[in-house]
Amino acid sequence: MGMYTEKVMDHFRHPRNVGEIKDADGIGKVGNPVCGDLMWIYIKVKGDRLEDVKFKTFGCGAAIATSSMITEMAKGKTIDEALKISRQDVADALGGLPAIKMHCSNLASDGLKSAILDYMKRNGIKPPEGIKIESEHEDVCETG
């Protein structure tokens, strides 16, 4: 599949951290199956660190690879660090994504943020200023 880098293909072939965390501390749900992408990110928090991160994803190769990649990137990071992971960071870690996929299937960092916000909400923690998840509960499918 020439459109994807070897790194993307590696994560697609062997996705890391697939599955649910039964007693998750936070769950982030982004995307919309109508648009072809849906990601659920589960986190387990210990102190201020993400002890465990898992995902379930309905979507294309890029969606699965970014989901897998974000779990690896986020695991062990502090919440503050994890919140700073951007779409671009995920794409970069994968050696790049096709232009057409940059927006449509690169929801993983949003998913992670969403999971952290869910954790904060559950625990009455005020989220830091300026955190916004554009793709959450989207009504219109994003393109390109």
């Binding site: 599949m1 379930k56 309905f58 294309c60 393109t143």
Partner: protein
């Protein structure tokens, strides 16, 4: 042509050239040359090759005269030329154009252009199998209808349309009937006279000929204006120095198709049916898209609930099987197949479609191999899917 361990089931995206076709073309690269319009002897062989090719294409579709076959650069050009040429040339008659809602994007985009330029385009619904509603065509026809365009068979779901019936209805109001036969040509017998076709777009590539050449069938007397203007080649209907080698290739492809189509259709439909049956048996929540019997012999289009199509195609590719999907991610527009949506399949289900198109080099063993790997792939993707109900694999 593929590597020995690879299986190609994506013939509707791109068809390899048939070696017998290439063999016929090579002399026009290696030996003969000259402008077919030139009055000297170099041009003569070229002209002869071009006209022999035209006759072969005409014979495949049972055109009355070879001159009704105009060579173009492919189906997309033929479609653009046919729709624009018929619409603009007949605009005194009226401005209504009627099309099915499952046309190829080249038809859709040309119709959008015409809609922006003063034409009123009416789209006909299809049923759950993708069959165009003849009743709604009757309702949509009026005296101002200049053109009806319905594809001969759909390239995604394989459904064959009732063209003869549609042509008769169009002709009652003196409208021109165009059909995009790109998906059907060489796969089933097409007879422009029996079927009442006035204009038909076909490409060489889709019948094992070279890409870069196609044809527009233009029934004698059909009022049409050319899209590409210039030196007046192709009787003035399509200018530009002729691609003789390409035309010769298309001619040979047509000749082979005519001779071998019936037998090949039978062979492929057996493989097709085995895959459809095997998939349905092995995988829960799997459904056939398109009509169970009014179907191209080489087309399999299945959908699998709870998973997405590109990841399916990607996984199959990892197993050495090339396929297509109807998913948004596989299209340039990032929209799921308008064909599946028109058939009433919900968006998320449409995303999970897999298109397997068979061809000359597929064998029953390919079906076997596919049926071995597909269930595991679907299971793996469903395990990863947040929308798969617990236990469904």
């Amino acid at each position: 042509m593929a590597q020995p361990n690879q299986i190609y089931m994506d013939y509707s995206s791109y068809c390899p050239i048939e070696p017998r076709v290439l063999k016929e073309m090579l002399p026009y690269y290696e030996r003969y040359f000259g402008n077919p319009s030139s009055p000297h002897s170099f041009g003569v062989q070229m002209k002869a090759g071009l006209e022999a090719a035209r006759e072969k294409v005409a014979s495949l579709i049972n055109a009355e005269k070879p001159s009704e076959v105009i060579f173009t650069s492919g189906s997309t050009e033929s479609i653009n030329a046919a729709l624009r040429g018929a619409a603009f040339r007949n605009k005194e008659k009226g401005n209504r154009i009627i099309a099915s809602s499952i046309e190829h994007i080249s038809v859709r985009n040309t119709l959008k252009y015409l809609a922006k330029n003063g034409f009123e385009v009416v789209y006909l619904p299809v049923d759950e199998y993708g069959v165009v509603s003849v009743e709604s065509l009757k309702g949509a026809m009026n005296e101002r209808t200049v053109l009806v365009t319905v594809m001969y068979a759909n390239n995604e779901v394989g459904t064959v349309e009732p063209i003869k019936e549609i042509a008769d209805i169009a002709h009652e109001k003196n409208a021109i009937l165009h059909t995009d036969a790109t998906a059907a040509i060489g796969k089933m017998p097409i007879d422009v006279n029996r079927d009442g076709i006035d204009m038909m777009s076909i490409s060489s590539g889709d019948m094992y000929g070279p890409y870069g050449i196609g044809a527009l069938y233009l029934r004698r007397g059909t009022r049409f204006e050319p899209l590409i203007l210039g030196g007046g080649q192709e009787a003035g209907f399509r200018s530009g120095t002729e691609n003789v080698a390409g035309a010769v290739g298309m001619g040979k492809a047509a000749e082979i198709a005519k001779a071998e189509m019936a037998q090949e259709a039978e062979r492929l439909s057996k493989i097709r049916d085995r895959i459809i049956k095997g998939t349905k048996e092995a995988i829960t929540y799997s459904f056939l898209n398109g009509h169970p019997t009014l179907r191209l012999p080489n087309n399999i289009n299945m959908r699998f609930s709870f998973i997405e199509g590109e990841s399916l195609v990607l996984s199959l590719d990892m197993e050495g099987i090339a396929a297509s999907s109807g998913s948004a991610c596989s299209s340039k527009t990032l929209e799921p197949s308008h064909v599946l949506l028109a058939m009433g399949i919900p968006h998320e289900e449409a995303q999970g479609s897999l298109l397997l198109s068979l061809g000359r080099w597929n064998t029953p063993q390919d079906a076997q191999k596919l049926l071995e790997v597909l269930p595991n792939i679907v299971r793996g993707l469903r395990e990863m899917s947040p929308i798969a109900p617990p236990g469904v694999r």
